[in-house]
């Protein structure tokens, strides 16, 4: 295993990094053009969803992988992003009549109809705000406590949407979500460019390219931030909050940025998935989804962008294909529907990984060290350090 990796490392080191990026991008574009002819429609459809999950994983990686803040409620931002898509691109608010850069057909529908490419960025901005709002109360928490609070937020947000059939928090009487039914249908993406304006449900190729474009954007953001002073500060905070603060890092600001940017990417991807699935429905926003995304970044290797992408693709395809393949087997052997416990299986993965190989299969050099630190270095952090900051209060 390590021999393979060393060889791979040596070979990949021969060409500059940007060449690799280009190669992968061209491969993805080639898949986009020929995928639906060469492979099954189902695989092509799965690849589009996968791209959405890749974005989600990259977003959560900023919070968990870079800044080291264990967030178990990431699904909240998926929900907020998807509902932004639902609200701004459907007939949900039929008493309104707002249209902006939409197709001629949509132009005639009641409700709010904004252009998809505007909505994804609006969704990102709104979720960034909510990321910071939900992050703020957790700033003084660490480890398990942080995980518990974020988990609660992940449960609260979808319930708020579900119960907002008649007014948000009982204020007013607007129907925000249709309860469990959700918002459907949602408008298709529309590009006011001749030739690109005909995006139909029958041909899903354009969705692939839209998703690919969004992934490239998210990746660009990830790389740039990782190599900036903010990225350095995130890693410093993850390593040692006290030392980071003493170096002039404003802990509050740096953590809030991590939450906000991580959330923004979740909302960005969420709006896309809502539109692609043509429905925004609270049943999509389960706790299991947070675990699913978390499992992707843990399996791939926290903090390592390449590893996270690999983890996201693997798990997404596993969920879509491997589980249904296994199902007849378990059905015949023990009369058990294995797809019913898919999230349980991801939870098991997560546990097994944390025990056996916490750095993931494609580890980040730093992270690997950190996770094995306590095993041979008992003196690394005294119990006194942990409470140092708290004493200020």
């Amino acid at each position: 295993m390590s021999a393979i990796r060393n060889t791979f490392g040596r070979v990949s080191g021969l060409v500059p990094f940007w060449v690799w990026c280009l190669v992968w991008l061209l491969a993805a574009i080639a898949f986009g053009f020929i995928g639906d002819e060469v492979f099954s429609d189902e695989l092509y459809d799965a690849s589009i969803t996968t791209l959405g999950y890749v974005m989600m994983a990259l977003g959560l990686n900023i919070v968990v992988g870079f800044a080291g803040l264990l967030d178990l409620g990431y699904v909240a931002f998926y929900a907020i992003g998807a509902f932004m898509g639902g609200w701004l691109m459907s007939a949900q608010f039929s008493d309104r009549d707002i249209h902006f850069l939409v197709s001629d057909v949509t132009e005639k529908l009641p409700g709010i109809h904004l252009n998809f490419f505007l909505v994804i960025f609006l969704a990102a901005a709104v979720t960034a705000f909510w990321g910071a709002v939900l992050g703020a109360p957790t700033l003084r928490l660490r480890g398990d406590y942080l995980a518990i609070v974020t988990l609660a937020f992940g449960e609260i947000v979808p319930r708020v949407f579900e119960l907002s059939e008649s007014g948000l928090f009982g204020i007013g009487s607007t129907n925000w979500s249709n309860g469990r039914q959700g918002i459907t249908p949602v408008d298709k993406p529309f590009a006011p460019i001749p030739g690109l304006d005909e995006i139909t449900r029958l041909d899903i190729t354009p969705y692939f390219f839209i998703a690919l474009f969004m992934v490239v954007l998210v990746l660009f953001l990830n790389f740039r931030l990782r190599d900036s002073r903010l990225g350095r500060a995130w890693i410093a905070v993850r390593e040692d909050e006290v030392a980071a603060a003493a170096m002039g890092v404003n802990l509050v600001r740096v953590k809030l940025w991590a939450y906000a940017i991580g959330a923004a990417i979740g909302g960005f991807a969420g709006a896309f998935l809502g539109v692609y699935r043509n429905t925004v429905n609270v049943d999509q926003f389960e706790f299991g989804f947070s675990v699913f995304i978390l499992a992707m970044i843990i399996i791939g290797g926290m903090g390592n962008i390449g590893g996270v992408i690999a983890g996201a693709i693997t798990l997404s395809l596993f969920e879509r294909f491997a589980l249904p393949e296994l199902n007849p087997l378990t059905q015949s052997l023990i009369d058990f529907d294995i797809t019913a416990i898919s999230f349980g299986i991801f939870g098991f993965f997560l546990l097994a990984m944390m025990i056996l190989r916490p750095e993931g299969f494609i580890p980040n050099r730093r992270r690997k060290m950190e996770l094995h630190e306590g095993e041979d270095d008992e003196t690394a952090t005294g119990p006194g350090d942990e409470s140092l900051y708290a004493v200020r209060g």
Binding site: F220, L221, R224, L225, S228, R229, L230, R232, A233, I235, A236, E239, D240, V242, A243, A244, A245, A246, M247, G248, V249, N250, L251, W257, R365, R366, R367, M369, E370, E373, T379, A380, G382, D385, L388, Y389, V391, R392, G393
Partner: protein, 275 residues
């Protein structure tokens, strides 16, 4: 965050005939943890470009006092000013921004970052790039990043770390070099006052000598004042302009090395009352 300027306090300390304005002034600083008074009503000053040392037996409250200066602890009562600005109970990053940098008694490097990256983080407080600039990598941000790297290499050279180790992980350095890296990291924030908490702990005599030379160099060449906690009396007597002795949280003596050496209360604190 902008700090309010308090009216200039006309305090100064006489140092070898030359009068220097006080950079850091602590007035009546007390820190209690429940019933335990770790620092008891301590008055203290560090003049500009001087090396001031705090000594005292284990548990005397030296590090607690340090933490009160740098914002890690909030003093129970008392006031800390730096260069005329009130920094009492300000968060650590604000204190650093004001010009106070520190190292830690139990080395607190960012272990999984490289040597160079550690120093780059130290410069955080002086960087001005904003988030949009970082994403778009504007010429300003690019220049700033180049500047950070250049400056970090310079500082690593000043503290005497070998060039070939710059890309190694901080934790792979030998102990003495980790101490030096911590100093380089602290210097990266362009401090006017550097607080060193037992910098020679775990160093061999030769390394301690080198560190003494380095401290003198920082003071004379970069004009940085140094506040030191130290147990190695050879180092203490060699570099200090002024020594303050703490025992049981109280200041029991202060003066230049000769005065402190002869002070009966100091001898008692170190050797016990039977001596």
């Amino acid at each position: 965050m902008r700090l309010p300027r308090v009216p200039a306090m006309s305090r100064s300390t006489r140092l070898g005939g030359e009068v220097m304005a006080d950079l850091l002034v602590a007035t009546n600083v007390t820190k209690r943890f429940g019933g335990l008074t770790a620092v008891d009503n301590v008055d203290f000053a560090v003049p500009e470009k001087s090396i001031v040392t705090i000594i005292g037996p284990n548990g005397a409250g030296k590090t607690t006092f340090f933490n009160c200066m740098t914002g890690l602890y909030k003093p129970t009562t008392g006031k800390v000013t730096f260069d005329g600005k009130d920094i009492t109970a300000k968060p650590p990053h604000v204190v650093t921004q004001a010009g106070v940098a520190r190292t830690f008694q139990n080395i607190k490097l960012f272990k999984t970052m490289t040597v160079l990256e550690n120093v780059q983080v130290g410069r955080h407080a002086r960087l001005k790039s904003r988030i949009t600039g970082m994403i778009l990598r504007t010429p300003f941000v690019r220049r700033e990043e180049e500047e950070v790297e250049r400056r970090s290499r310079e500082l690593l050279a000043i503290v005497g770390l070998e060039r070939r180790r710059y890309q190694d992980l901080a934790s792979s350095l030998p102990y003495g070099d980790q101490r030096r890296l911590e100093i380089a990291r602290a210097l990266a924030s362009d401090p006017r006052l550097l607080l060193l908490d037992e910098p020679t702990a775990g160093m061999n005599p030769q390394e301690s000598d080198e560190l003494t030379v380095l401290m003198d160099k920082l003071r004379t060449e970069l004009g940085i004042a140094i506040l030191l906690i130290e147990h190695d009396m050879k180092v203490v007597m060699g570099v200090s302009d002024h020594i303050t002795v703490l025992d049981g949280g109280q200041k029991i003596a202060a003066g230049n090395p000769q005065e402190v050496r002869k002070n009966p209360r100091v001898i008692e604190a170190y050797l016990g009352s039977q001596a």
